[in-house]
């Protein structure tokens, strides 16, 4: 059942793992952008989450503590962004970029002395005999719990945004902060909460890189994953389930191109490397053609600061 020397079952199973960090980070950023805030500091929050999670997991010996600490680290860093943009009303783009630079430096400082240490192993969920089912076993039942948690979080965010009062408020703040304010909602406070959630998710994604995907700490470990997460949010046109598809696509192509090489395929690697970005452009063109900007689904107040003047 190998196709071109590649076992598709193993390929799917490994792309699900490869996609987790960018999926978590993109999901957090989606909520942030839905509330009308553009936080370009995803990369910085991810890497701070990666080192916080790593330090906590090594110190406690428990990956669960590590993931919690990663989320906490990312959220804490995002509060710096929230303070500067929501209280001091600084430019969001510039602040977000600065946050990435700050996060990279901070993580490098925190990571001193943690090179070459092995973190505790994140166990696979014991499904027992289910794992031995052909095809479905490795794909569905062969992962660590973070893979399932990431999918559950996609469903949760989708449900909250679509069907709950909280989701409606977040969307209202993102679409028209003036209107939300007139209705009595505390715009900046709601945005602050969303930013912290986005930071926690990015931190969780970062912790997955340093605890599961690479299991070690080296400087710059996320290597641009945060930027891909930002691209996925646009690719997904701010819809949670499309974030999942986007993350699997990006993760899948990365894994596939390496697998194709290992299998000795003749397709030049350059074409595969550029394909996710080509797909993004194609999707954006298709979605934005004809039906105007509304079809792109971008929150109307995205990137605009709000100050309650009245």
């Amino acid at each position: 059942m190998d196709i071109g020397g590649i076992n598709p079952v193993i390929l799917v199973a490994s792309l699900m793992v490869a996609a987790v960090p960018i999926m978590l980070a993109a999901l957090g950023e989606l909520v942030v952008e839905k509330s009308g805030v553009l936080n370009l500091g995803v990369e910085g929050m991810m890497i701070v989450g990666a080192i916080c999670g790593f330090i906590a997991a090594v110190a406690s010996g428990s990956p669960v503590v590590g993931f919690l600490a990663g989320a906490l680290g990312g959220a804490t860093l995002s509060l710096v962004f929230a303070f500067v943009t929501q209280v001091l009303l600084a430019n969001q783009v510039a602040t977000g970029l600065a946050l990435t630079l700050f996060g990279l430096g901070l993580s490098s400082l925190m990571g001193q002395g943690y090179n070459g240490i092995k973190p505790p192993v994140t166990a696979k969920v014991p499904f027992g005999p289910l794992t031995d089912i052909p095809i479905l076993g490795p794909i569905i039942f062969g992962h660590d719990w973070m893979v399932y948690a990431s999918i559950a979080l996609v469903a949760l965010v989708w449900w909250v945004l679509r069907s709950t009062r909280l989701g409606l408020i977040v969307r209202a703040v993102g679409e028209s902060h003036e209107a939300a304010h007139a209705l009595g909602y505390k715009v900046n406070r709601i945005r602050l909460g969303c930013i912290a959630f986005g930071g926690a998710m990015a931190g969780l994604g970062g912790a997955y890189v340093s605890l599961v995907r690479v299991p070690q700490w080296v400087d710059g470990i996320t290597a641009g994953a945060g930027w891909i997460a930002l691209a996925i949010v646009v690719f997904a046109s701010w819809r949670p389930w499309r974030v999942l598809i986007g993350a699997y696509l990006f993760g899948g192509i990365t894994v596939l191109q390496l697998n194709l090489q290992a299998a000795g395929s003749g397709i030049p690697v350059e074409y595969l490397s550029m394909s996710p970005y080509l797909v993004t452009i194609v999707v954006l063109v298709i979605m934005s053609s004809g039906r105007g900007r509304s079809s792109l689904n971008a929150p109307a107040s995205l990137g605009q600061n709000f100050h309650a003047a009245r």
């Binding site: 020397g5 076992n7 193993i10 490994s14 490869a18 960090p21 990435t100 630079l101 700050f102 990279l104 430096g105 490098s108 990571g111 001193q112 090179n115 070459g116 240490i117 092995k118 890189v209 995907r213 690479v214 299991p215 070690q216 700490w217 080296v218 400087d219 710059g220 470990i221 996320t222 290597a223 641009g224 994953a225 990365t254 894994v255 390496l258 697998n259 090489q261 290992a262 299998a263 000795g264 030049p268 690697v269 350059e270 490397s273």
Partner: protein, 365 residues
């Protein structure tokens, strides 16, 4: 990038402090400012880490007479030129550019600052008199890795994570495969190009992809310890090698031995020559014999007879009695490259753009 910005500020401050004191090309000097440009972070645990150890050796050897400055994670390309210009303006007397991709930037900036000495690692261009190149014969270490890989593999599939298809890497692949084939005629080589020097997640994925294809010995030419971390997940079924640095934390398995880049002696020698006024342009290429390439401890995961064989090869290379590329060796297409007993001329190695016979796949162009 934050670090880069900070360093820019530092360099600008350096201009003010140096008061335009240009470097002397000849004659003894009282003080030398030695600067280092790194392609990755010092904390990569591999390539850049080792260069930085060399830089620290310089500081230790000369104390107050030498000031060292460095900049991490400098992208190869236009940014490198800017960084080098700032360093040269900032009073650096000698600048070490520690990645192949800095070649053109180094030569371009060197032409503008004839009084600043430039030392480019792993390159071959010396356009002006103040550019020297230095390299290490890593392929000698690859030979020993290849021998161990050929003896140790159970699936007869060995792997190599390439960074970029440049002669330096192709040389390593050929040496690795040649020596694996010599001891195990059934061995097959899988090469995966990562197109990066440093991206731990991608390096880990590359290792994972190979392991899924049945590869059980992985050599890597990228800078981080991620491939070893991935191999470590296999509970001893897959082995690998420390690359650039000893990577001793993965002993005794998956890391069964390592190639250690030992730049310290060269850096100390060159900065010392500048202080004494005996500095000259060179094209340095030392290997195991010169102490620039060290072979890390071969662990007990390797059977004693294989270990003895590997150590014998290491000693033969060190003594100069064995050259890793000794004929007969054919090129991939079957055409002869080296005749029986002939050893590869350095020129062939430095411009190596072909696989040897037995390797499948093409080098990306």
């Amino acid at each position: 990038m934050l670090r880069r910005t900070l360093m820019t500020t530092a360099a600008a401050a350096g201009i003010a402090l140096s008061l335009g004191g240009g470097a002397m090309a000849a004659g003894p000097m009282d003080n030398v400012k030695a600067c280092f440009v790194y392609v990755g972070p010092i904390g990569d645990g591999g390539w850049t880490y080792q260069h930085h150890q060399g830089a620290l050796d310089v500081k230790e050897a000369f104390g107050d007479k030498v000031e060292i400055q460095w900049q991490e994670s400098v992208p190869e390309g236009a940014d490198a030129e800017r960084v080098l210009t700032q360093m040269a303006l900032g009073g650096c007397n000698i600048i070490f550019t520690t990645s192949f991709g800095y070649m053109d930037a180094t030569n371009a900036v060197a032409a503008k600052f004839p009084n600043v000495m430039f030392e480019h690692a792993t390159g071959f261009k010396r356009d002006s008199a103040n550019v020297s190149t230095y390299n290490a014969r890593f392929y000698e270490g690859r030979a020993i890795e290849g021998l161990i890989a050929g003896r140790m593999t159970k699936s007869n599939k060995i792997g190599y994570i390439g960074s970029f298809p440049i002669p330096e890497v192709v040389m390593g692949i050929n040496s690795y495969f040649h020596h694996a084939r010599q001891v195990n005629p059934d061995v097959e080589l899988t090469v995966v190009w990562a197109y990066t020097w440093f991206d731990p997640a991608k390096e880990a994925d590359a290792a994972k992809a190979m392991i899924e294809q049945g590869v059980d010995v992985i050599a890597s030419h990228t800078d981080s310890t991620a491939p070893l971390a991935e191999a470590a997940k296999s509970n001893g079924a897959v082995i690998g090698f420390g690359q650039a640095s000893d990577m001793a934390e993965y002993k005794p398995s998956p890391r069964v031995t390592s190639i250690i880049d030992n730049w310290g002696p060269y850096y100390v020698k060159r900065v010392g020559a500048l202080l004494e006024g005996t500095y000259e342009q060179v094209d340095a290429w030392e290997g195991i014999a010169g102490g620039e390439v060290l072979i890390g401890e071969i662990t007990d995961a390797v059977p004693a007879d294989v270990k003895a064989e590997a150590e014998a090869m290491r000693d033969a290379i060190a003594a100069g009695t064995y050259h890793p590329f000794t004929g007969p060796i054919n090129k991939q297409d079957g055409s002869p490259w080296l005749a029986e007993g002939e050893t590869a001329p350095d020129g062939d190695l430095l411009g190596m753009g072909f696989y040897i016979e037995g390797i499948t796949g093409d080098i990306p162009q």
